[in-house]
């Protein structure tokens, strides 16, 4: 079965992970711009990060037969630094126009401050202007209240509901998100309450319409194989193959295709790759024999 991990921070992962993802059936990933683990000190570091997401990281993914797209934004945590926020908001009209940018995100709230709310609203305006979907990060603390605040800001913006993916849902928030016509994303983490079996139960209860699953794997304790593992958990709960395929392939593909920048037909087959190729003279190899492949059969 083809799978799309719509929220995974591959910049923080190794080439081993790319190999494991491809072997497990992941054919496409979307990498949202996010918090790097420590505060950035100036706007320029955002620029280099954005450039690496549309450049080197895309190349790296394709060298392992995986399509790579990304979402760009200032993350909620850093919106509280006024100079940074102003600078990044000025830059976004340039970077949101790059070919592989398929949404504005992650935007949303963290500490739920007024500054975070202003930056979130400004970024939704940009998404509307550039006809891009949005990826909403809901807070990990005070989740229910914070999610509601995010939804209020989204609603006030007037963006079309089908252009909204609200992430990090749980059983408590998913129904409210679906009722508003938004896509409901779920980040499945290992060794936490939100493991694959719990996600499978959510899928069993709420069905497949606008339900999305991701690993949100990053530099912390996380597992890039959470989408394939959730597929297995859903099979164990006797969810039909058609519904599973909708959740892990058709939904994320259809959501990001609304950007007009994702060629659905192209994504149906793996990108052919040749590891002898270079990106600005850089290779993913360290002396190993290059592997190459034509388009893989699904």
């Amino acid at each position: 079965m083809k799978m799309f991990d719509p929220h995974i921070h591959m910049t923080s992962r190794t080439t081993d992970d790319y190999e494991r993802l491809a072997a497990a059936g992941i054919q496409a990933v979307c990498e949202p711009a996010f918090w790097m683990g420590q505060p950035r000190t100036h706007v320029g570091t955002f620029e280099d990060y954005f450039l690496s997401l549309v450049g080197w990281e895309k190349f790296r993914a394709e060298q392992f037969g995986i399509h790579h797209v990304c979402t760009l934004a200032m993350n909620p945590k850093e919106a509280n630094q006024p100079d940074l926020a102003k600078g990044v908001l000025e830059l976004l009209p340039l970077y949101l126009q790059k070919d592989s940018v398929v949404a504005v995100g992650e935007i949303g709230l963290d500490d739920q401050t007024p500054a975070e709310q202003e930056v979130m609203a400004a970024q939704i305006e940009l998404a509307i202007k550039f006809n891009l979907p949005i990826l909403i990060h809901t807070p990990h603390r005070d989740k229910k209240e914070g999610t509601q605040r995010c939804l209020d800001i989204v609603k006030e913006s007037g963006i079309a509901p089908e252009m909204v993916l609200v992430d990090h849902n749980t059983e408590e928030t998913v129904q409210g998100v679906l009722d508003l016509g938004y896509y409901a994303g779920h980040s499945v983490y290992p060794h936490t309450k939100m493991e694959e079996t719990r996600m499978a139960k959510i899928a069993k209860e709420f069905g497949s319409e606008r339900i999305i699953v991701n690993s949100a794997a990053d530099w912390g304790v996380s597992d890039p194989l959470m989408v394939p593992k959730t597929v297995q958990a859903m099979r164990d709960l006797k969810i039909s193959e058609e519904e599973i395929e909708t959740i892990v392939w058709k939904n994320p593909l259809g959501f990001f295709a609304q950007s007009g920048r994702l060629d659905v037909e192209k994504f149906e087959t793996r990108p052919s790759f040749d590891q002898a190729k270079l990106f600005q003279d850089n290779s993913v190899l360290r002396g190993q024999a290059p592997k190459a492949s034509g388009p893989a059969a699904n």
């Binding site: 620029e47 000025e90 009209p93 340039l94 070919d99």
Partner: protein, 225 residues
């Protein structure tokens, strides 16, 4: 701006769909970064199809320009060139040496290749010489090739030293040297010495002679005759 007027006239007559679409993109009040974003997005809109000039179009180009028609421009290159020319007309402060430098740094591979190709036809093209000379150091052979091959810019603006370095790099990465415009005019004793030294180093190390050397050798022979 005379060249840019001719380019717009040529585009209006021969690639009118691009000309009309780009003209509509010039809107008052656009921020600097919005303009750079539009420049980037034009690849999505126009793609990589080449633009040919035959018959009347070729004659029209030849009547205005001493340089050959840029057959290596694709539709995106034309759209981006027209956008920069029109944006500069609209806002004289937009396209400066600093802007050009920033576009190279912030541009993806496709943008850098376009900028290398269209550089010669931009307003005040000589102002971008320093950035263009630094582009020789690019790690991308595609960007380098766009600058070095069939491109009138280096011949017209590069210093002797940087022109020579460009020719040497072409040898170093084994590109042919005949497509370097103006090489026959700018080749001099210093360039011949550099090329000969490089080839000699390779021969001593039992490595092959770069394919671009034959043409330089022929120029050297002509110069001696």
């Amino acid at each position: 701006m005379q060249n840019q007027i001719h380019i717009q006239r040529f585009a209006e007559e021969n690639v009118s769909e691009i000309y009309k679409a780009v003209r509509q993109l010039i809107v008052p009040g656009q921020s600097h970064y919005e303009r750079l974003g539009i420049f980037a997005s034009l690849h999505r809109a126009w793609g990589d199809d080449p633009v040919r000039a035959t018959g009347k179009a070729a004659a029209s180009w030849a009547a205005q320009f001493s340089q050959p028609f840029p057959f290596f421009f694709n539709k995106t290159d034309w759209a981006r060139l027209l956008f920069l020319i029109m944006a500069s007309e609209h806002d004289a402060d937009f396209l400066t040496a600093e802007t050009f430098d920033s576009m190279i740094r912030r541009g993806d591979h496709s943008e850098q290749i376009t900028l290398a190709k269209i550089l010669f036809y931009l307003p005040e093209a000589g102002e971008y010489r320093q950035t263009a000379e630094r582009m020789i150091a690019t790690n991308s052979s595609d960007v380098f090739k766009s600058l070095a091959h069939h491109n009138p810019y280096p011949m017209a603006y590069f210093s002797d030293l940087m022109f020579q370095q460009m020719v040497l790099k072409a040898l170093f990465i084994d590109l042919p040297s005949r497509p370097i415009l103006g090489l026959d005019q700018r080749a001099n004793a210093e360039l011949f010495r550099m090329a000969n030294d490089y080839v000699r180093e390779r021969e001593i190390a039992s490595r092959s002679v770069p394919r671009g050397f034959a043409y330089i050798e022929s120029l050297q022979a002509e110069a001696r005759a």
